[in-house]
Symmetry: C2
Subunit: 758 residues, 2 copies
Amino acid sequence: MFKYEDNSYDIMAQLKNESLFMIGNGYIGVRGAFEEGYPSGDSVRGSYINGLYDRLDMVHAEKAVGFPTKYDKQPKVADTQTCLVFLDGEPAQLINTKYQNYRRYIDYEKGETVREYEFVTRNNKIAYLKFRRLASFVNLNVVSYSIEVKYDGEIVLLSILDGDVKPYSDPNDPRISNESKDLMEITDIGEKDDTSYLLLNTKNTSILQATLVKHLILTENDYSMDHIVKDERVETRITGSDNLILNKICVFTDGIRYSDPLKSAWEILGHLAYENYQTLLEIQKNYLDKFWDIAGIKIYGNENDQNHIRFMQYQLLQNVGIDPFSNVSAKGLSGEGYEGHFFWDTEIYIFPVLVANQPQHAKNLLEYRYNILERAKERAVELGHKKGAAYPWRTISGIECSGYFPASTAQYHINADIAYAFYVYYEFTKDLDFMVEKGLEVIFETARIWIQIGNFFQDKFHIHEVTGPDEYTALVSDNYYTNMMAKFNLNKAYELYKYFSQIEEPTIYEKFKLLIEKINLDEEEINIMKRAADNMVLLEDEELGIYAQDSTFLKKPLWDLDIDKRPLLLYYHPLTIYRYQILKQADVVLAHLLLEEYADYEKMKNSYEYYEKITTHDSSLSYCIYGIMANRFNMVDKAYEYFNQSVLLDLHDTHRNTKDGLHLANIGGTVLSVIQGFAGLRLNGGNLYFRPSVPSQWEGYSFKISFRNCLVEIDVRREILIKLLEGDYLNLFIYDKGYKLKKGEELRVAIMEVNKDD
Amino acid sequence: MFKYEDNSYDIMAQLKNESLFMIGNGYIGVRGAFEEGYPSGDSVRGSYINGLYDRLDMVHAEKAVGFPTKYDKQPKVADTQTCLVFLDGEPAQLINTKYQNYRRYIDYEKGETVREYEFVTRNNKIAYLKFRRLASFVNLNVVSYSIEVKYDGEIVLLSILDGDVKPYSDPNDPRISNESKDLMEITDIGEKDDTSYLLLNTKNTSILQATLVKHLILTENDYSMDHIVKDERVETRITGSDNLILNKICVFTDGIRYSDPLKSAWEILGHLAYENYQTLLEIQKNYLDKFWDIAGIKIYGNENDQNHIRFMQYQLLQNVGIDPFSNVSAKGLSGEGYEGHFFWDTEIYIFPVLVANQPQHAKNLLEYRYNILERAKERAVELGHKKGAAYPWRTISGIECSGYFPASTAQYHINADIAYAFYVYYEFTKDLDFMVEKGLEVIFETARIWIQIGNFFQDKFHIHEVTGPDEYTALVSDNYYTNMMAKFNLNKAYELYKYFSQIEEPTIYEKFKLLIEKINLDEEEINIMKRAADNMVLLEDEELGIYAQDSTFLKKPLWDLDIDKRPLLLYYHPLTIYRYQILKQADVVLAHLLLEEYADYEKMKNSYEYYEKITTHDSSLSYCIYGIMANRFNMVDKAYEYFNQSVLLDLHDTHRNTKDGLHLANIGGTVLSVIQGFAGLRLNGGNLYFRPSVPSQWEGYSFKISFRNCLVEIDVRREILIKLLEGDYLNLFIYDKGYKLKKGEELRVAIMEVNKDD
């Protein structure tokens, strides 16, 4: 059985475990707070709906033109978790001396989290308690709980639907909100047919959010149930004995997706009339069987890593939005760090996982970006651009929500990151309709920004005043990552323009003509884009034989301050950090992962070695990139070390803030560490490349990839075995050697022995 | 008579004229709001005490380490201006059709402002009203008003001492506070012996501020006076007829300078027992006779400019703090722009005027900087430096009060600007005691920062992540101005260390030894400073033959956006502005004014021509520098144009914000335009240099300079006449030719004919 378990209760780990044991389905997320409550300690009793937001004023110490004046914030929605347990009047909670045989785990195959223990009462009677919960992958509105109590005596369950939901805040950590204002007000609350209901409303954006909790009792004994509706909550009291099982069927809806959320919630609940926890779990299992069959990565010879990689894949499944109203926030639906905002993490760390095995979900992430394109165009105007789209660095609804522009708005690279994802989707699917209807517009409008913020100087194209992925250096000229991604963005705008200008399919061509008319794009502008791309400066240092992160970076001193103060951003003024050659996360190295076709191998390798030494990995987006790229340079031991760092980041809370939610980009990156790292998957010039290696800690691994009309399985052990499961034929490269694989064929290639201790 | 006059009342110009007609003496400033009130229109009825501050929370949209959490703000103090006038019950106010013969002027010789007019009542009776006011230059605590009314009927004066003082705010202009909270609370209020009194307290810093207003009636007719004490104000009603003169003798004190401000105010008032407005004015005139004799610039053949230059000198006298608790805020004591904060304006634009003719006042400005040295050391630690002092970009009490670090904290050059002023003072006075007791410590501690924020790279010393004076470019490497000033700071630290190490005077030497022991400064550190200074990179562009503002500046595009949107900072996002070769104010050119000894003449001239074209002068600190430097390159017509721009900046409100207060740096710069501009005064290698020229609009000019023990007069017409009025001898250079002048001698040199239309 694949599962993640934690079989000891630690009051100090409550917050962290609430994140790790969250349940979710891309629409709703519920942190793993205890139903019966904690004896003490911190808790963030949060449930979140993807894409739901309130909007608050942003106050600047000194305002300037184009600084955002408002920002989105993800609110908590109604809390459905609570179910206090009383045994002959005594509250059951995990006070040290009073419980035994505690177990808790996530079951990835069934799709639930389970917690059970034996509680010892004051009178030394032993009760058995079991708490199970799931968020349905099939019916996204549904969350269900099962609370089972065996006890030789009176059992009282007090189930609460709670509308008193305040955001979590910490004024001293820039990564967490310092705003503790109520975001929700109660519009309607009540109970009907053993079902509690609550209608909340976001205070400033006036988006309704409805929650129902239906109470089902499964017992052969007598019981009673009554409800009390209070101002902010509904309490349901069930009294029974011996063996009492409560199933709660919860339905969540919201005013972004439903015109009358409360009515819709009742309708959805109506369709679930005959379901209980067990039947929902069976549906869940069916869904997961198919999911794991297509998406599941197998790791041979290392059960621990096998479980961990499934944990990561499961968390993606739980946290990635799968409708066009939603996306993936930095913490998914597992916590309140970064206030529920969506960043470039989506396109660079998560999208590449989905595009390879759940292209429809990948597409939904792009649909979201298309949906906010108009806002990005408005933002471009706010920033003084004459045309084009400037995607916000962080947002929910599409508006720029960043308070500190040197490490946000200046990160123009997000424009190219989004264009990159659209292009990768295009290469994986050849979905011409989507491209002509949505993708091209995004690629063209993002490309337009580069020719406005860049300039030709001595025949080269330069881009000034940007910040790359490495936020420990800001507002520089010719950031390597930015320039390389801009080059790609511009190149693809040009190539796609040319391709669609001459496309044979008349309906596609017609749509293309309408598009370029609508956005007023012509040959002249496209040719400027091409000229900028062709002449884009990618700085090098000849002496070091490396690519330079920007025009001044390599002239700065190496960090000689106290490196133990980590993350540096919590100990040093930005000016101090910016003054040194010190990286928060991969920058040049990440550019080489995404676009090795633009770079020279030796210089890439030298760059890796140079920058690795000065990277703090203070960002959780860093380990996985260095790990993947270690493989690129045949340093498999190093790659495994980084893989392990990525795995442990949340599981061992190595960044000490998993309490604020899971690090979704790192989770995506961990999965990519296998696919792009050990297996070496790349898309170069539209072709699939693999360069497999196996770390000494494993016997091998396998996974499946969807590419265009093909489904291909790659199994890597001492020999590489590739099977084309679907599709007529597939061209691919292994260790840079081309192969053509026909349907039903298998390809066997010997694994390359690599220097494992470079 | 030297005066500034404005003989027409314009409701739209009320705010501007409140600034222009302010009265002050460096301690207290009172805006020129009308005693009798306005019929309508805006007013900022402010009075301010130099150095007084409250402290407020600074909120950041996204906080980081070392961002200030509090900031100082200058509060309004009690308002003493109001004296409503009723003529047979009809309020006298300037409603269009009801007045005639309006006159208003500042009399620089007497030291008062005067306003008079004839008011026509409903019954077509004519009253004569005259309002006079002064802030005593002799007794800094004293402000006095004279209100004279001639009217054939009942005259009622209602004099108000008002404690309801709220700050002026504008949430959309970054140059003005967006904070409208009350800063003052009333501690005591009352009336005794026809004297109203009010004790205020700053809300957060708990600094007391006391105000007394004594009412004297000068009339031969009967009158009555009564007082009403209300919650927030004291009203004094005087009823008389025919010819009524009220003199108000106001005393202001504060808790920074007095342990019991109210008690001290009464004592000060006691010493003034026999004074009235007229006697105070006589004392004032005596003071000014001496002041103008020493400091007064004479301009021949242009009465207008003569008056204007006196206006500037008079405003300096009114607004420059002359005790060590005070300084010169950006708006002096004339308004609330920049919240009363002190900037580098003091050292670079105002100090050089004073050091040449009022060295004691110049010294007081340095005393203030020494007083906040400890805070600057603490700030250095906050910024991550191991030692040294980092002076705040803007402050009152000494703490950093900047909300936007790229255009504040990153302007490390303020450290060198302050050190520069200390060094210039030293050269002008050779005041060894002051240097060894205070000056050296400042020069050493500021120099220490450069060797920490700079680094050697390829044998050159570089400084990264700083912002120069030009705030339209930020966070750059090797800003020319910063590097040049840092070089000076380091050189002087080295030279002074060496000089004082071998000084013969034993008491000076002993103090020096104690100082370097106290601050733990040794030869090794001093030698590093010397090495950094010697190898400081000053970037050049060979092709253009100019000095480069920073390492990337000349690679950026020229501004092609709408230049009419001015100032740019109110129309464009900082990122847009930073991306172009566009200057807010002189940067390289200012470095050449201060330190021409470090640069090459031809390159300085080319640099001037290059940067002048791309400077917006959106900062009020720019015209004067370009004007002074135009003279340096013999472009006298251009110099005069800039001089005129500086003159008109406040007088014609060309920056459209004189309402927020006078631009003190520009005012200082206008005076320097004569001394350093047309007369070409420089201090090179410790010697006085003059390079006089006369603009065609003048016949000539003259002024006096104090230098060491000498007082020298320079009179420039077709011939230059130099007289040594005090002191035994003086070495000086005219047009780079050296002369030695003995006491009583005159030196005559023919004026150089320069190309006036370069």
